[in-house]
Amino acid sequence: MSPTGPSARGATVTLDVEEIRSHFPILQRILPNGKPLVYFDNAATSQKPLVVIDAMSDFYKQYHANAHRANHTLADESTAALEGARDRISRFFGTSENQMIYTGSATEAMNLVAYGWARYNLEEGDVVVTTEMEHHANIVPWQELSKEKGIELRYVPIDVENFTLDYNAMEVAIQGASLVCVGHVSNVLGVRNEIERVIEMAHSVGARVALDSAQGAPHERIRFDELGADFCSIAAHKMAGPTGIGCLLVKSDALDEMGPFLTGGSIVKRVSKEDTLFQDGYAMFETGTPRMAEAIGWHAAVDWLEENIDFEEAHDYVHEISSWMAIQMRNIPGITVFGNPEKEEAIGVVSFLHDTIQAQDLGYLLDAGGFAVRTGHHCAQPLMEAMGVGSTNRASVWFYNTMEEAEAFVAHLANIVERFS
């Protein structure tokens, strides 16, 4: 095979992409229309290396049993695997297992902040700040809380010229706030927000910070303890892990302020008819049979990432592809690119529209070439509104994509525009 990736084009990054791709069975897929799959929908969900898939199969074939309170061998092995995963994953995110709670998804992690922390600590008139750039997962829970509790919800606007948060407006909005909820990376624009600055601002007024890192974690090593955020929500499926699992990272003093949310077995010390004595710490929040296969798969993903991916190198590699795509696409007549994928810190996402080919049509036309991109509002309607559009097409790149794929994509897009506009 010919060398792939920007390295072959005289660029600086040397990721062995052929080798990496060989770990992902799905990347060999030939679509029913005869085209090889070009997967540019990574911001929606990432693909999985074989080791992740096999780790889960192996669990079910060899040692599946219900974890915890184990006196038998299988249950012991399952427990060890579940807790081993917790230890490994939390360390990967730069924190300790006492500060990580398994959830079903990033969305459920943010709901846990709303129900498990905010519901216990905020009251009528308290202020929660979010932004116009957020995914619905970081908006709707706060709207609901606001309805239930009478808290005030403030939105930090975006600077529509530069496609960034308006940090001056944020400075104002966080005055008197108790909680600031902000996205780490925008799923629509690929903008990497200045979260360090937001954390500092928020902490300076005594507000807690909830980071939505669903899009940050796949592209940047999270160092939770260093970062100093109070909460951080993450989805496994966007970072080579399985569906059905995510986590909330929680600073221990914030954890101390939390109360029960989903309740049932496992999270209790003692249940009487009158009352329940709950477990302490993260153990208060993981009720019912654990997501064991999912945790085991995520563990394998994190191991695989650690072994195969240097995140800084991967960032540069992804950036090289997506910025190149953005530049080329801006030259195609009628195409508008939203955001600034060319910016150094931007993250692998190119949102675009054509001025006469409607977005859904364009999605089908790209699919006809084998290119998987997303079309829609990307669960970020307030952002769409701020940008004055209803939806966008979005190509999102991860480290297993290649410059050849990007070139083919741009060529196909140019061809579509020629034939269909």
Binding site: N33, Q358, Y364, T375, R419, F420
Partner: protein, 142 residues
């Protein structure tokens, strides 16, 4: 297999044209062509909630009536050309027919045209919902 004995000559001709396409891109190109040749005839004030086709990512509306001879008439408007093109072809297939027949309409020509892979029910293109709406309206006009 589509029972092409059921198809009108016009539809058979359309199916034939699609069958001569080389790939999905050409098929979609042809569909766009039909959309252009048959732009929405629906006045913009009829693009309302009542006439909306649900489950469609893009906007699509359809209004059904009977013509002077009691023949069924569907008029549609969609902002996606693919949906508009399909609407045009569906209109060719059903318009002028008795509503009893439209209520039983089977859009098997889609398969004949080689579009069924693209227009699966789980894709949010709304085509299946459009056909369903047309058939329901036909029932109520019977």
């Amino acid at each position: 297999m589509p029972d092409d004995g059921e198809w009108s000559e016009e539809i058979t001709e359309i199916v034939d044209r699609f069958q001569s396409c080389f790939d999905d891109m050409e098929r979609l190109e042809l569909l766009f062509e039909y959309a252009e040749k048959h732009p929405s005839t629906l006045p913009i004030d009829l693009w309302n909630d009542e006439n909306m086709v649900h489950g469609c990512q893009s906007r699509a509306h359809v209004v059904c009536s009977l013509n002077g001879e009691g023949g069924f008439m569907a008029e549609g408007g969609a902002d996606a050309q693919i949906v508009q093109g399909l609407m045009a072809i569906t209109a060719i297939a059903v318009n002028g027919q008795p509503p009893e027949k439209v209520a039983e309409h089977d859009p098997s020509y889609i398969e004949g045209m080689g579009l069924s892979r693209i227009l699966t029910p789980s894709r949010a293109n709304g085509f299946m919902n459009m056909v369903r709406k047309v058939k329901q309206e036909a029932s109520s006009l019977m």
